[in-house]
Amino acid sequence: WSVHVLSWYPGFLPQLREVLVKVVPFLSRPTLPALALPSGQYLFSSNAICRYLFEVNGQECSELCDQWLEWEATVLQSLKAWFDRVAAMNACQSAAQKVLQGKGLQGMKSYMQRQPAPQSSQCRETQPCNSNSAEVPEEGGERVVSEEEMEAAALTWSKGLNTCPPATKKQHPILPQEDKRNVLVTSALPYVNNVPHLGNIIGCVLSADVFSRYGRLRGWNMLFVCGTDEYGTATENKAREEGLTPQQICDKYHAVHSSIYKWFQIDFDYFGRTTTEKQTEIAQDIFWRLHERDFLIEDTVEQLRCENCQRFLADRFVEGICPHCSYPEARGDQCDKCGRLINAVDLREPQCKVCRQTPVIRSSKHLFLDLPKLESQLEQWLEKSTSTGDWTANAKQITRSWLRDGLKPRCITRDLKWGTPVPHADFKEKVFYVWFDAPIGYLSITANYTSEWEKWWKNPHQVELYNFMAKDNVPFHSVVFPCSLLGAQDNYTLVNHLIATEYLNYEDTKFSKSRGVGVFGDMAKDTGIPSDVWRFYLLYVRPEGQDSAFSWADMALKNNSELLNNLGNFINRAGMFVTKFFEGCVPVMELQEEDKKLLALVSWELQQYIQLMDKIKIRDALKHILNISRHGNQYIQVNEPWKKIKGGDSERQRAGTVTGVSVNIACLLSVMLFPYMPAVSQTIRDQLNAPPSCINTMLEGNGTFVCSLSAGHRIGAVSPLFQKLEADQIEALKKKFGGQQRSVCGDGEPSGPGESQAGEKVRALKAQKAEKAVITAEVAKLLDLKKQLALAEGKNPEPAPQKGKKK
């Protein structure tokens, strides 16, 4: 074939030559573009050509780039055939013309509005969402509603509200009751030392909160407990750093956690801590019972102990020479250079990372929980629990793989001071290891809530236990802790439903406090974005089934499209019509076919919501709320009450019915929203002046959509519920939390150009593990520059003290 080939000869400019031969000599079929390389090789892959050109120009191809190129070659290219086929079809061409010429996307609006909201695919995969006879359409097309459904919906509607109002205030202590479903909800105890980030919050407390609030609306007897996990090495170290006692650190950070969760409106029945007498009492009791029943094994473990610091060193606090490759900065669990896993005791010339002294090897006796001995009991219980309860798929899978790898005895003691003391005479100076001790915190926290805690925790026949956590905590909740309780043989309540989430990433990376990347709990309120909007978005992207990511742009989009334009718009319009056209009183409603159809559609969505929430499919259930308001918006759009109100009697009647039904749907929405956005829910009910009993009527049974605001009911003052998030606001927030403005010292102060270059240099040197002397010199330069900057800015040039209280 005749073709133009770009030839590359070193020293010459690329030349375009017309070539009359087969371009790439060994390929049977024509493949273009092609690049003839100086060595005589040919590149016939355009991706490979691009890589070569990039590299020759000094640009590296990252792994993410590799991934995209692989995707492009395998996935995207294989779509090309499909694309070409579809593009050739007449229907496609005419549709494309309509959009590309003329009105653009507006041309599609009327078609889009006639479509129902898409079903979530997860709903299809689990049990059949649809319990009644109506068909669920596969793709597009409106859901067909049967006559029976319409009549049933209208009948329920006419039933009206429950006569007895719900109790407004909770009666503490909440205890199991005979005639009710008693549900105990725990969220994984956050470690006190760390400020929780959005991923921690959605994984644990927020998910548990939504379910607890929902359960109360369903009329279940709920108890929701949580608290800070306070013992362990990290707290001891932090205390040393800040010059406080561990107890003082815990007090300080417990308050931080508490206030963050309060801001997020987490409605714990009790938020406690693990550093209490009850913890010691209960943990030691379980310990003795395990000991008496021969489920503990004694063994000696060799550990490195720093005599100078007077403590046994955790692996990451030892540095030495790798016994395999002689790398001088190998850490006590893995060598950074050769990557081999090692034991700290095998390091040559080990040093304590804190004081640089040489530690000595000391034998230490420890106690191990005999998991293998408890394995068959555990498996028996697991079989029952996972098959009858609502465990998330990942929880079951992780548990299965732990069991498959075979259980080994686990050490439950440590040579530390800050922890629950081991009561056994031979282990006097030791404390319980955090993963034995922490889950017992659930029990002791409850014990601090009520002296009758055993009615929840030693009552498996009357109580259902839900544990909420992120997936990395699963094995401790499904294997280690249940084994402790099974071995103690005291009729403990074991977890019935283990709910584990995947990870929430931040934009396209991970949350990192040290690098200043991501939003942490204490910063959320400073953004000016309301707590309910944060809750909504985090729940919208709740990582069920797979990791998800927090994205500022996406949060703005969801706020503006779903909250503002969909939900807020509908509820506000409904209320406004009552105010403007009906003098603030709900008008008379005469239901016609179309209205009954809407009631049926709404009832179906409500049913799905309940079925999903019962199974903790929080993210999917939310979609049904948004579907209802979409139906509502459409209903108003089609019926145009603002026009009909100016017409004759029958038209005005129509306007009245439509308005009345709409405002009742708004009331339903406020109830469904309560678990997700409690403040907004309350605001809506206040604006509608809704009777309190609506809150416990609508979620009864399979869903009971009644007429809660009847004709003549006077509503309150209506105002917009949500505000738009503007693009520049979002951009500013994204920059602020992206981690780029932190200087190398990590103190959050902005750096000048000379300073940031110097900072980069120091960072680079440290990364290259340059000699200490070189680093010190560069650090001195940097500190000097900082001083100059501070002086130039008129600030105090003295550097802040590294240790001591942060005030």
Partner: protein, 173 residues
Amino acid sequence: MALRELSSLEKYLGQKKANKYSTQGDKKVPVLQNNNGPPLVGLVTIACHLAKEAKRPELLGDTAESRAVVQQWLEYRVTKLDSCTKEDIKTVLKDLNLYLQDKVYLAGNQFTLADVFVYYGIHPVIVDLAIQDREQYVNVTRWFDHIQRYPGVRHHLPPVAVLRNRIYTSRHH
């Protein structure tokens, strides 16, 4: 299949600890959860990552040219080779045979990941090939035999006998 290939590659690289992979989609594209960042998706992407982690960059090519050539053949493996029909097979073998006429390895004179993965990918094709065809595509056969005997490469795949001349009687096989 992709997971077994990655496992074999790990063994070739002398990796002590086997990675845990998951898969995605109905084509079961392999996914490696990375501790330090987002997960890596794709057979070729992960394989190159493993080679770099094992500090064997030469397996990806040691010049800009050879690096591009290696990537090209890796791409060829996951596009053309993995989805080829009976008809395409003939073309693939013909092209490769011509290409390998003057080369020891796919990248020229150096053993690279391209050889490993094209070998893994083409193995089922060679297994099904009649003896006469193996003789017809003599350069492919020569290259294939060389790679399958290359120390540490052939883990999960059975060896394919490509030699025609039986020096020993069948009892010795």
